[in-house]
Amino acid sequence: MVTKTETREAPSPIGVNVPRVDALEKTIGAAKFADDLQFGPGLLHARIKRSAYPHALIKRIDASKALALPGVKAVATGADTPGYIGLYLQDRHIFCRDRARYVGDPVAGVVAVSEEIAEQALDLIEVEYEPLPPVFDPEYGASPEAPLLHPDLGKYEVANFIFPEPGTNIANHFRIRKGDVEAAWSQCARIIERTYRIPHVQHVPIEPHTAIAQVSESGKVTLWASSQSPFAQRNLIAKALGLSQSQVQVIAPYVGGGFGSKAGVSMEALAVVLAMKVRGRPVKLRLTREEEFYTTFVRQGLVAHFKMGCDSEGRLLAMENRFYWDGGAYTEYGVNMTRAAGYSSSGPYYVPNVKTDSYCVYTNHPVGGPMRGFGMPEMHAGLEQCIDELAHAIGMDPVQFRKINCIKTGQTLVTGMTMHPTGLSECLTKAAEAIGWGRKDPPSAPNKRRGKGIALMWKAPAMPPNAGSSAKVALNEDGTVTVSVGGQEIGQGSFTIAAQIAAAALGVPYDWVRVVNMLDTDTSPYEWQTVASRLTWSMGNAIKAAALDARRQILELVAKAWSENPEDLDIIDGKVISYRSEESISLKNIVVYGISLPDDQGWIGGPILGRGNFMPTYVTGLDPETGQGPRAVVHYTTGAQAVEVEVDMDTGKVEVIRGVAAFDVGKAINPDMVKAQIEGGLVQGISTALFERLALKDGVVQNASFVDYRIATSTDTPRNIQAIIVEVPQDDGPWGARGIGEHSMVPTIPAIANAIYDAIGVRVSEPPFTSEKVYLAMQEAKLVE
């Protein structure tokens, strides 16, 4: 007799390093990205006329000369876009109407038979501006002296957890008032007070933003886009244009890197408005690399003031934080990053007294969007350096100091929420051990100095409380499985995870599962967005539910055919088996055609289609005055990173020799892909720590090319990166899993800053830590002549 224990030992793909479902297609040049889709000779091309002023009234637009250029089909302006658009705060028109608010703000668009003609036509559009005084600094922008950028702020539609302050440039003000900070300072043995200015950086996906829109005579809108968020784009574009969501179809092929820049709505809506002017014809808008740098969402700049203190035994007693986020001209996401930084403002530490004011401030800079880490890399950059300084100030080892203070299971968080089971302490111990903490290795050359640094992190998925996922699991004639999801494959491996989860929950081999790789809002099940490192957890739950639904249907069918109880049956390796009768039948044939009853009594069953969804139901609101509430977020992923650096005393060049990182992912569905995220994130973190800064001068981006804006290349990557997986399960994650995609670059800037200090005894606090900056700091400290 087959026992349950025996058969359940059939290989499960959970926790196994199966190959990626998308790797082969991507390796042979067959994977389709938005720019690869073919639209035939009817395709038209669009280019965008952009504001050259950071802040100006638009007095007049005359497109008559552009329209007269042979080959030009249409011009669109703000006159065509009266509606507002925005994810959390609807503060933007698709094309500017009366006012332009950043250099790059779309003022008009041209559709023509070729890109060249569209580009020529841009110069023929006459725009009369009246320049207005600009705001380039968020702290100044928040002051009463600053010119007002959004006089209509009080009239904008806004989500109920965002708190704009009409009559100012403050688009959101998030407060934490926990304990009594003022009383706590007197009990502190040491207090550190620091300010950090974290520069804007760009996402730099290698695939530029591309959108193709077509509007039929009946008014049906189809948009093909390189998109992390087809459903959010459908929703927001429909609302802005006064359409039903069912009239808008968004089709999203593979995304060639997103990192947040292809979430929400940015340039995609421009293509739709332009296509409305030339009904029936597809219109393609593809950003140039230069436009990628200055017109797409940026990682916001941050001015962060920290004050923190501890007692003589190294226990953190109080923190007072003021964050001024450079939200830019509009706040697609900035308002929610401000909130996320607020409710996570203690960092991954237990602090009894916390006062935080986190402001999202309108400026005349490019629009702040989500970027890998969603505010956390910027906030941790300063916070984790302060923690280091405080440890040194009371004469305690920085690892020991973090061990004492880091957040532990059951402690009360800064919002009043109770911390769920977390492996942060284990991550810290393992990262410190792996880097050889406390051991000083000799430098590779006499003119170099070596140092080690460590930093912790935490991050919760920042999203509306009820962001939902759904999934479909359909079975094919031969028993293979087609999984449909609305979450995107942007390189992080979501489709592979989807296949593993479906295979495991259903009971079929992993290689029987295919994941539909062209998302389509008309046919794919709903997914809020591919952001917040939420897919493995949220979409994973939906897939698991859909697979279990299909499994239930199959077991009920077979039970009926065999006159058995479904409870005695199981699906193992693609076969239904009975623990009672020891019967067995392959899924092949029965999952579409059903099962014929004996003695020609007809058939039972029918095509099997499982459906499942998931939505967190337990997140509560927070008090607008205190930021307190029972459950601020779904969960926190935590981790630690440590690096070893060498500083060249002749040049100031910092080299990261070695990196280690340990993250608590709950359960690694695919350990190798978790490690790939940890490695890739660390290198992106190194890139932002050592090289990257979007140089803005009077609102103009000075380095809008790969030559002037340097990202890490093959020669900048450390020799060795060690990724360590810690698994303390998440109670509502599939098999206990929680996300890891963004977290891996959160602690890198401060880990490197702390390592530089360890190497040379000088704090170079504000990234990027370029050779020049480090050398000048060494000169000032009289380390070099």
Binding site: T27, G29, P208, Y254, R289, G680
Partner: protein, 161 residues
């Protein structure tokens, strides 16, 4: 704009194409021959996504005019696998997890193939140098280096075996 008829070999196939004077090799491959495996990441010779082999040498195809390719032999990512058998660099980049979003992958594969054609046993330093013109924002590169080393080893085993 003058139109030129050129003849060339692409992935072993003879092609005749009519191209305007200002059309790049990248545009010709993608728009005239629908070989969209070669990607356009910057159109300025800076990111390496459009790397192809031109007469055996790796070039940024966005920096080469199509008319210059009359009589040339071009290999794109679509031409790496032969008779359903992957090139060793394709096989190993899959096995080592060197693919994430996949947009830079075609250019990385072509640059790697070019490296192994001229140097069957490269050091990691030489691999890093060979790939310095191919930007990748996802992987952090290390798995790609491992894949190229492994591909080199397999290729040498094939040759000697």
């Amino acid at each position: 704009m003058a139109i030129h008829r050129i003849a060339l070999t692409v992935n072993g196939e003879y092609e005749q194409v009519d191209v305007p004077s200002n059309m790049t090799l990248l545009q010709m491959l993608r728009e005239k021959l629908a070989l969209t495996g070669t990607k356009n990441g910057c159109n300025a010779g800076e990111c390496g996504s459009c790397t192809v082999l031109l007469n055996g040498e790796p070039v940024n195809s966005c920096m080469v005019l199509a008319v210059e390719c009359d009589g040339a032999s071009v290999v794109t990512v679509e031409g790496l696998a032969k008779d359903g058998v992957l090139d060793p660099v394709q096989q190993t980049i899959i096995e080592h997890g060197g693919v994430q979003c996949g947009f830079c992958t075609p250019g990385i594969l072509i640059s790697s193939r070019a490296l192994l054609d001229r140097n069957p046993d490269p050091t990691e330093e030489e691999i890093r140098e060979a790939l310095v013109g191919n930007l990748c924002r996802c992987t952090g590169y290390l798995r790609i280096f491992e894949a190229v080393k492994d591909a080199a080893a397999r290729q040498r085993a094939l040759v000697s075996g």
